[in-house]
Amino acid sequence: MNIPLTALALTTALASPALARPVTMTTNMAQYGGDGAYLALYVTDAQGAYQGSLWMAGDKSKYYEHLSDWYRATAGDAAQIDGITGASVGAGQQLTITLDLADALFDAGYSLHIDAGVEDMRNSPSEIVVPLTSSGAGQPVQGARYVRDFTYDL
């Protein structure tokens, strides 16, 4: 799935069209033996404070509370994921998103989080937490439960 987005609604003024570059994020799911997983991709700052959401895989709002860290930070606010919502991701499948992200997001202490949740299975908040750095690009990060690995490419 390739979703080119030109702007990103981060709460801080990090996204500046002039200083942005396309970033491709690839999430490979493990064979966890369940229904499609809900994934929330979002960014926190160096203090761990929520900054904004990049993507929500899964469109039924009643399940969002199972993405517990994201839900804790946003209280389930639908405005956070307005226009950046897609389908849930099945076991063994791949989610690829391409977004224009501000240069200022990289090498500045920001981290990308992925919360995952699967129906009738455990919640997996912050299953992926990866610092956004230029050098980290292209390095796969392993997940522990539902995500096999995650990579972002600049």
Partner: protein, 737 residues
């Protein structure tokens, strides 16, 4: 309208609803299974104790969940590996790895979305909506059929598909309504059409300390495990995190440093509402309800098959009229009121015969009555069926009102023919109503073409007779040879005959035929002779007439022969041919089930009342009575020496206990007694039997049956019963000719 509302969703959604119902039935077992498998729970156990025990066994515990059915699962992290175990609450130890069932997940996805994502969810919801419409319209149809809410559980009559359809419906319709309504509400909640309620926001302030153990936390100490939904532990090493508790009452947060309750929020209305809906639909937390709903759902495939069969039958029965004239051009207007479509068959025969006689005929449903357009019409003929207990059929709705509302009487002569079943107390009531209005109109000057007439149980003979009367009125011959869908007939060979009544100028005989041998393929293809029992009808096709005549069978399939009791009807074509048969001769015949004329199930006594050849099916019941149920026979005939049918067998059956008593009445001996007199003489005994729950079965001529009903009304006067009440309960059935 009501029928259309039932028919179209039924035909379109049948397969979808069957899929939903069968998958739902499978899922309905799961909560009960899970509850049965869950370890016993000490009612006084608190979440605090449980959490202590679990975290002692699994230091890396992240969450403890309790399913509505009672299974407790702990999710933990150990040495970088996630784990999930089913917990025994008594020890806090794991008893099995928690592995969600792949089958349950597969069936769940089939049930709610047909594996088609949101499109499938909407499709499933459409199936639920169709089921709801079917249930409600079906209940209304049934009310109309049985004649009111009070009769909803009265005995069912008619062909087996219809009875099965109605029987399952009235046992299960409440479940169908509950399941479909909750399914629609769940869909609405999934797609945010209904609010889901919001969880409370994370507490703004925490102590920032860590180290309190769950066992000391007041909120956990106050929460019984029975009410637990989930308890989430804080992240190790994150002092800003908290314990999060969710119960059946609400949810809250607990400080991991002080153990104090930081926040508690009772569940809001919509949360509770959605939980109740979920429980009612899935049976999770209410396993018995789930099992009942699942059992009811198993009736859906049967209802789908019988429903489609009923529709197919009526669709096939409705003929396409050839050369139907326009209303304004026709000299004869046929107005048809038919619920099931069988009356249309008669209308088509009449239509064809009138056209053959040179008439221009316009046939239309009664709802299309439009006197203003009948410019050239010389006569209006109304053919109308009653539906169940004397209620107007769908295509006749409003006809009476429109007739009554006419400003002045029409000048076109009218004939009314009613079709119905004499077994219903309100036989031909509707056609009678139409005739009554016609009579009122006649007083204003609306001429009658023919007196009102009725046809019992689609009798081709009665229809042909009425055709002759109509021909007389029209001054030309009118031959109405209507045979309502004659089943494939088979040649029957006579093997023996016993003569009776030869000295009484009314020859009669018990004829015994060999069972036809049908090829195996015919039997598989449903073209065999078919199974039968006493009381079912043997249709005989006499030479020289396409119309079958029906005789009650005195035997069952396993007797290995086919037996009927027949007397010569003056001028009767068929009875004459049958009585002229010699052993070795054959007739064409078929079996037609007569499910209403059967003893009810059980051990209750049965009072058999018959006269003349009406003994046939009653003798068959006695012959088949190997269970020695108390059968009391009252048998009226002319003379013991001449027409005491089954004389020897009656004595033998009485000795064998197959007949509890035999009372005879002879009209051509010195006693000059009829069966009615025998009933009168035995009044106290009969009243006693009825109060014990006995059923009455009457077989014989129509006049005799009417006489019996009159006498029984007197006999039952001291009891709370009347023949009409017994008929309504199915405890008084007649087979008359």
């Amino acid at each position: 309208m009501l029928r259309q509302l039932h028919k179209f969703p039924g035909l379109i959604a049948a397969l979808l609803i069957v899929t939903m119902a069968l998958s739902g039935a499978v899922l309905s077992v799961l909560p009960a299974w899970e509850a049965a498998m869950a370890p016993a729970l000490d009612q006084t156990l608190t979440v605090a104790t449980l959490a202590e025990r679990v975290s002692a066994t699994f230091p890396g515990v992240e969450q403890i969940r309790r399913s509505p059915a009672g299974q407790i699962t702990a999710f933990y992290f150990e040495a970088g590996r996630p784990g999930a175990v089913v917990i025994d609450p008594a020890t806090g130890k794991g008893i099995a790895d928690h592995a969600p069932s792949g089958l349950a997940r597969w069936v769940t996805n089939l049930h709610r979305s047909l594996f088609l994502g949101d499109v499938g969810r909407w499709t499933a919801a459409a199936g639920a909506a169709a089921l709801l419409v079917l249930s409600l319209s079906g209940v209304m149809l049934m009310r109309r059929r049985v004649g009111g809410w009070r009769q909803m559980f009265s005995r069912l009559r008619g062909p087996v598909a219809g009875r099965l359809h109605t029987q399952i419906a009235r046992l299960s319709v409440a479940g169908f309504v509950l399941s479909s309504v909750t399914a629609l509400l769940m869909t609405a909640s999934t797609f945010d059409v209904l609010p889901n309620g919001t969880a409370p926001a994370f507490p703004a302030q925490v102590s920032g300390r860590i180290g309190a153990t769950p066992g000391t936390m007041p909120l956990l100490q106050d929460t019984p495990v029975q009410g637990l939904r989930e308890l989430t532990f804080p992240y190790a090493g994150d002092p800003t995190d908290v314990f999060a508790l969710k119960t059946n009452r609400g949810e809250g947060f607990i400080d991991q440093g002080t153990g104090a309750t930081l926040l508690w929020a009772d569940a809001g209305f919509w949360q509770r509402f959605n939980e109740v809906v979920f429980m009612l639909h899935t049976g999770q937390g209410m396993a018995w309800l789930g099992l009942i709903l699942g059992l009811m759902a198993l009736g859906v495939p049967v209802m789908a098959v019988t429903g489609v069969a009923i529709w197919l039958k009526s669709y096939r029965a409705r003929p396409r009229m050839i050369g139907n004239a326009a209303a304004a051009q026709a000299d004869t207007i046929l107005l048809v009121g038919s619920e099931g479509g069988s009356t249309w068959g008669f209308a088509a025969t009449l239509h064809a015969a009138l056209r053959l006689a040179g008439h221009k005929v316009h046939a239309a449903p009664m709802t299309q009555l439009d006197l203003g357009r009948y410019n050239r019409a010389a006569r209006v003929i109304v053919l109308t069926a009653t539906y169940g207990d004397g209620v107007a059929p769908a295509s006749a709705k409003g006809f009476l009102d429109r007739l009554a509302a006419l400003p002045h009487a029409p000048t076109i002569p009218l004939a009314v023919l009613g079709f119905g079943d004499r077994q219903f107390p309100q036989f031909c009531a509707y056609a009678g109503d139409v005739a009554r209005v016609a009579r009122v109109a006649q007083a204003k000057g609306w001429p009658n073409l023919l007196p009102m007439a009725t046809i019992d149980r689609q009798s081709p003979q009665e229809f042909a007779r009425w055709g002759r009367d109509l021909g007389n009125a029209l001054r030309h011959a009118l031959d109405l040879a209507h045979s309502p869908a004659i089943p494939r007939s088979h040649p029957l060979t006579l093997i023996s005959r016993r003569e009776y009544g030869t000295d009484m100028q009314t020859p009669a005989a018990i004829l015994r035929f060999a069972c036809p041998q049908s090829a195996r393929f015919d039997w598989i293809a449903g073209r065999g002779f078919g199974r039968f029992g006493p009381g079912d009808l043997l249709g005989i096709l006499p030479t020289g007439s396409p119309l079958p005549r029906f005789y009650s069978l005195a035997c069952a399939t396993h007797d290995g022969f086919i037996e009927v009791c027949i007397s010569r009807v003056p001028g009767g074509l068929c009875s004459g041919q049958l009585l002229d048969l010699a052993p070795g001769d054959t007739v064409q015949a078929f079996v037609r089930p007569n499910p209403d004329f059967k003893p009810t199930k059980g051990r209750k006594p049965v009072i058999l009342i018959g006269a003349g050849t009406g003994i046939g099916p009653l003798a068959g019941f006695a012959r088949a009575n190997t269970a020695r149920r108390p059968l009391h026979l009252y048998f009226g005939t002319r003379h013991p020496d001449h027409d005491l049918f089954y004389g020897e067998e009656l004595a033998a059956w009485q000795n064998a206990g197959k007949l509890a008593s035999v009372t005879t009445a002879f009209s051509r001996t010195n006693t000059r007694a009829y069966v009615q007199d025998a009933l009168h003489a035995d009044a106290a005994h009969i009243a006693q039997l009825i109060s014990e729950g006995a059923q009455i079965m009457v077989c014989g001529g129509r006049d005799m049956a009417a006489g019996v009903a009159t006498v029984l009304a007197e006999v039952l006067a001291p009891t709370k019963w009347t023949p009409a009440l017994l008929k309504a309960e199915g405890r008084y059935v007649e087979d008359t000719y």
